[in-house]
């Protein structure tokens, strides 16, 4: 493959990207990391807040009397600490602030630059002119100051921190999850205390609030009052608002990859190929779209740490593959050299997303996979040397099936759930990607995701297909061919369906996303209205039946009737959806509908899926909605015009009508 002018090169950018994987050293933004700008530093809305609030943390020798208590609220990995890192650099560079850990008895306080990368003190103090700390930074209030505390109480620790700062009139920056805030408020009720007022303001999501400190004490206060500012980092999807797109751009920018130019392994390098595809407009938007659907399906937003871990995985692989501390580039060179092309293929983007649990795209079950490898390798001696090496490497090359990001990429993860191979994708599409290996060339021209690496693997598969004729025993030949085709299609289907924009439930998730995106403050467009009506109808249809709305109380009892159906008109509550989940209301009662349930319910309503193919958990949710609806409408206490249908043990149906609190049989079927 390599031309004489090419040579093996090492791109340090990949090693840096690798440090962003979830267990990597740069995954957590500890104070020790604040001094340097993060690798994938992008401007976000939080940076504007940083610019605005930074001056409030500085007293300017007593000239500034109004400080700030800034709370960054969000779940782990949401970018709170990274925001504080950005604030740190702004204060250091623009306001000459210095940062130290608090002075412990018997030892000098260390500067932040002296802290190790993983050292995380509970608070860091901000000094002006090295005189006194005017602000404190608690970059993770979900831990306690003393990690060996026998009775750790994060809520009490936060209260103490705020009490201490109010006693001294200091500003404070706190990163916390909402749970700590709620827990602290439950500890004790001190309505007038600054700490209580501040935390209550967060809980109530109230606008900026001012708190005056008590200055009757002996000590001099740094600030006389503070403004409470809250920045929630969990309100929207960073994938949907293009923050993720910006991170991706930063990771695929030309400068980071210029070292790959002239590299002999470049054409077969999965990471370079992934990067090249993600750099294209179609690749970029497809990847973001797929991640957004996965995020929706999971029901929980992708946090910053996960977002950069995804990028790290696609562009630098996983450290679990890199034995003996080799770099990603060294691993690629080594793998290219030994001709283990399917190991390289396993790190292509579509393989990482859908097949990371199945080595090389082979069967997932260990025993089945061993058999499959046995069948595929036992006749490898008929192949050309290069193909034989690649096939034999299936037996010897040791790749990790644990690539991190478990909730997305494990065998029970989201991508396994939305794997498009799980459903019929239509004859044309399936035929196109059930590639007759000799025809692969035609796809190369149409599909940018097909790289030299795929070309190489297709060539090996073509070689393998040809050897079927060499196997004399017809049964063995059949078996060999069958296993080979299964393997090929398990890879090509993922490649093709992914590239062409297909996922399981894509249509339903698209609808879900559209509904979430509707702004209830604006007048709905005709299209929005149609969508809303359609979703409400299909929901009603599924849960209560289409013609005659009814509530299924149990497997044997159904109630219906005018007074029942009047109460069964579900309505999408666009305002209450928190832009993360749909809320359907029946009467005034909310029913939350997760994307997963929505996808299945819509699919069922659209295609008439059998109950048997329904996942039990979703079926349970559907039953639950019915039970819940049943209890909302208080069917048992409706006095008239209510009909009951009971399925008797012999399968016959008993129809009853309720009038004036008495039930009477309709027809003669008792």
């Amino acid at each position: 493959m390599s031309s004489p002018n090419l040579m093996e090169k090492t791109n340090p950018f990949l090693s840096k990207l690798l440090d962003l994987e979830v267990s990597g050293k740069d995954a957590i933004s500890a104070p020790g990391n604040w001094t340097k700008v993060p690798l994938l530093n992008i401007e976000t809305e939080v940076d504007k807040i940083v610019e605005r609030l930074a001056p409030s943390l500085i007293s300017k020798n007593g000239n500034n009397k109004v400080g700030v208590w800034w709370f960054l609220v969000g779940s782990p990995g949401n970018g709170k600490s990274a925001a504080v890192g950005s604030l740190f650099r702004t204060l250091r560079d623009e306001h000459d602030a210095e940062f130290k850990e608090p002075k412990a008895s018997g030892s000098e306080a260390r500067e932040i630059s002296e802290l190790g990368e993983h050292e995380i003190p509970y608070v860091v103090e901000l000094f002006e002119n090295n005189k006194y700390p005017s602000a404190l930074f608690a970059q993770d209030a979900s831990v306690v100051p003393n990690p060996y505390d026998q009775d750790p109480n994060t809520a009490m620790a936060l209260i103490k921190l705020l009490k201490d700062t109010s006693a001294k009139g200091q500003s404070v920056v706190v990163c916390a999850n909402r749970g700590i805030v709620e827990k602290a408020l439950q500890q004790t009720e001190e309505r007038k205390a600054p700490w209580y007022q501040a935390l209550k303001a967060i809980q109530d999501e109230s606008d900026s609030k001012s708190i005056k400190f008590d200055d009757s004490g002996p000590g001099k206060l740094v600030f006389n009052e503070v403004k409470v500012e809250v920045t929630p980092l969990d309100e929207k999807s960073i994938v949907a608002d293009d923050t993720f797109g910006k991170l991706l751009d930063k990771a695929t920018f030309n400068g980071g990859w210029s070292d790959c130019e002239g590299c002999s392994s470049s054409e077969l390098c999965p990471y370079k190929n992934n990067r090249d595809w993600l750099k294209t407009d179609s690749g970029r938007s497809r990847f973001i779209q797929v991640l957004r659907y996965a995020e929706l399906m999971s029901g929980q937003a992708i946090v910053f740490r996960e977002a950069v871990a995804f990028i790290s995985l696609m562009l630098a692989g996983t450290s679990r593959d890199y034995k003996d501390d080799v770099t990603p580039c060294e691993w690629v060179h080594k793998t290219v050299k030994k001709g283990a092309f399917f190991s390289l293929l396993s790190r292509r983007i579509y393989m990482l997303l859908f097949k990371s649990q199945s080595l090389f795209g082979l069967k997932r079950d260990l025993k089945d996979r061993r058999n499959q490898i046995e069948v595929l390798t036992e006749n490898a001696h008929y192949l050309t040397e290069s193909s034989a090496n690649a096939i034999k490497a299936l037996k010897t090359d040791d790749l990790s099936t644990e690539v991190g990001l478990k909730r997305f990429l494990s065998s029970e993860g989201v991508f396994a759930e939305i794997d498009p191979v799980k459903e019929n994708q239509g004859k044309a599409l399936e035929q196109r990607w059930n590639v007759a290996t000799g025809n692969a060339e035609s796809l190369m021209h149409d599909q940018p995701l097909m790289s030299s690496l795929e070309r190489q693997c297709f060539a090996i598969w073509a070689d393998c297909e040809n050897l079927t004729d060499e196997i004399k025993n017809q049964d063995l030949a059949h078996n060999y061919y069958r296993e080979l085709r299964r393997w090929i299609t398990s890879v090509t289907y993922r490649l093709g369906f992914f590239a062409e924009g297909h996922l399981l439930f894509q249509k339903e998730l698209e609808e879900y996303q559209k509904i979430l995106a509707i702004d209830e403050n604006n007048e709905l467009t005709d299209e929005d209205e149609d969508l809303k009506d359609r979703v409400e109808d299909s929901f009603k249809d599924f849960v209560f039946g289409s013609d005659n709305s009814e509530v299924k109380i149990s497997q044997v009892l159904t109630v219906h009737g005018k007074e029942v159906s009047e109460q069964l008109d579900p309505e999408l509550n666009l305002a209450a959806g928190r832009k993360a989940r749909l809320i359907m209301t029946i009467g005034n009662n909310p029913l939350e509908l997760s994307p997963r349930s929505f996808a299945w319910l819509t699919r069922k309503s659209r295609t008439g899926l059998s109950d048997k193919t329904f996942p039990p958990a979703v079926q349970q949710v559907a039953n639950d909605i019915r039970y819940k609806a049943a209890s909302y409408i208080k069917y048992a206490f409706i006095e008239k015009r209510i009909k009951l249908q009971i399925i008797k043990a012999d399968g016959s149906i008993l129809d009853l009508e309720r009038r004036n609190n008495r039930l009477r049989v309709l027809g003669d079927n008792l």
Partner: protein, 524 residues
């Protein structure tokens, strides 16, 4: 020398036998047996409380179409009620006969159904016993508290919409709820007796324990309070739905009580064996004993989405412990030259007939050297094991013998998700699709809702949060914090049911809504 020769133990087929002092004590656990459906628990409860006899012969299930002397047993409205409450369906493998199970929503509907006469009294022994413990285990009798509780419980069982008003509830219909039952007064008395110290079966003597601190037993208190909360809900919910909740509560609480009682035997066996082996001194006091009792329910279940056999393993552990404890107590009796025929093991010393745990342990320490001498250098644990191996209940797997372990395991099947008729999710154990490969332990949706409701009632003075629901589960021995994967699963389940409110990042402080707030009775 055979140290186990001439021990005073009651003869038993599969075990070494009971020592009288244990058989008469709170450590005694009656045998248990299969309940094919949770409907059986309701029938059993009704039969215990509302009928002269709990059984009238061999097993008989409800048949709405039953005729007696050519006339229908049930009138039309009774039939409607039964048809509505049809639940589980079961087909016997051998005869292919299909059995349908019906829940009697009111006592009179259980008049033609009973378990076989010889069947174990699980509802009394594993459910009502917990209430008896709470009402009478505190050392002092508070009659008004007891009466109030019995009133609430009894009225809920009866269905509070008496007379014509019952017709307001679809499942209530116009049914004479006490037809062919004992009178209301007698029923109340029977329930009171069943929940009382004096009449809880033939082993009544010391079947209820009293803590040194005179504090109520934590588990019994939880069960009692939760039952009261559940009973109060009856007036606000359709009878069908409420009955599903009661069934779920019975399944869960009786199993927890049974397993928790087993824990005491296991711990006391461990301590006595350790003292007799010379491995520990009597370094315990009354406080230690109270602590053992008060924490015995902790960690009974390990929620898991991986297949497990933890319940069978636990029962096996208990049966081994009980065989060994009986032997060890008899051994101490023999070596100390005492006669404990008329004694009962009690938590703490009291009357002459009491054999307090501390006294037993102290006697154990006194005879330890004599036993060691006779063992001539052998380890007591090893010698005891060799001795116990001859008893099938000790040496065979739980399901391989007809011994007590099998009965307990069969009873615990009430926690399992039934193949049909458990759609609302009142289970805790989810069997694998492949037979005999274990099961997962995770609550079904109805159980989740029930526990969430109970947590809300227990924390009625504040906003309900996720950790309250977790705490409520912990009170029944289910700790979701122990295993990494299972807590998120619990959060996801509550989220899918729409019970979680507020931000998903709030961790264990995320707000939870109460699925059954006590709403007004009627629809407007």
């Amino acid at each position: 020398m055979d140290i186990f020769k001439d021990l005073k133990l009651e003869k038993s087929k599969t075990e070494a036998g009971w020592h009288k002092s244990i058989q008469n004590s709170f450590l005694f656990i009656p045998t248990a047996g299969m309940r094919v459906s949770s409907d059986d628990l309701i029938i059993e409860l009704y039969r215990e409380v509302f009928f002269e006899t709990r059984s009238e012969g061999s097993l008989k299930r409800i048949d709405p179409e039953e005729l007696q002397d050519g006339k229908p047993v049930f009138d039309d409205e009774e039939k409607f009620s039964l048809y509505m409450s049809r639940g589980r369906k079961k087909q016997t493998t051998a005869t292919r006969k299909l059995t349908n199970f019906y829940t009697p929503l009111y006592p009179s509907l259980a008049r033609r159904s009973w378990l076989r006469k010889q069947s174990e009294r699980a509802v009394r022994d594993f459910f009502l016993k917990a209430i008896a413990q709470n009402l009478h285990g505190g050392g002092s009798n508070n009659h008004s508290l007891e009466n109030n509780f019995i009133d609430v419980f009894f009225n809920a069982l009866l269905g509070k919409r008496n007379g014509v008003e019952r017709g307001e509830d679809i499942a209530g219909l116009q049914i004479d709820v006490l037809r062919d039952c004992v009178s209301e007064e007698d029923g109340r008395q029977k329930l009171s007796d069943l929940c009382g110290q004096s009449s809880v079966g033939e082993h009544a003597g010391k079947s209820i324990f009293t803590l040194q601190s005179k504090e109520p037993d934590a588990l019994a208190l939880t069960i009692c309070q939760d039952l009261e909360h559940l009973c109060k809900l009856e007036g606000h919910l359709d009878r069908l739905q409420w009955m599903s909740l009661l069934k779920t509560f019975l399944r869960f609480s009786s199993s927890v009580w049974l397993l928790a009682q087993m824990k005491m035997t296991i711990i006391f066996r461990d301590k006595l064996l350790s003292i007799l082996s010379g491995k520990s001194d009597v370094n315990i006091d009354d406080k230690w004993i109270d602590e053992i009792i008060q924490t015995r329910y902790k960690g009974l279940f390990k929620p898991s989405m991986q297949l497990t056999n933890q319940l069978e393993n636990y029962v096996q552990q208990y049966v081994k412990a009980r065989i060994e404890l009986n032997i060890l107590v008899a051994l101490v009796e023999k070596y100390s030259g005492n006669n404990w025929d008329d004694k009962s093991v009690t938590l703490h010393d009291g009357s002459k007939s009491d054999l307090g745990i501390l006294e037993l342990m102290a006697e154990g320490r006194n005879v330890q050297s004599a036993i060691a001498k006779d063992l001539t250098g052998l380890d007591l644990r090893v010698v005891l094991t060799r001795f116990c191996e001859r008893f099938t209940s000790w040496s065979m797997p739980v399901n391989a013998t007809g011994g007590p372990a099998k009965g307990y395991c069969e009873y615990l099947l009430v926690l399992r998700k039934m193949e049909k008729g458990d759609e609302d999710g009142g289970y805790l154990v989810i069997p694998s699709k492949r037979k005999n490969t274990g099961y997962k332990i995770f609550p079904g949706n109805l159980m989740l809702k029930l526990i969430t409701y109970l947590a809300a009632q227990a924390n009625s003075d504040k906003k309900l949060i996720f950790s309250d629901v977790e705490e409520q589960f912990k009170k029944y021995g289910l700790d979701f914090g122990e295993k990494g994967e299972i807590r998120p699963k619990l959060i996801e389940s509550l989220q899918d049911m729409g019970l979680l409110r507020g931000s998903p990042d709030a961790g264990d402080s995320v707000a939870v809504s109460n699925p059954y707030s006590l709403q007004k009775k009627r629809a407007n």
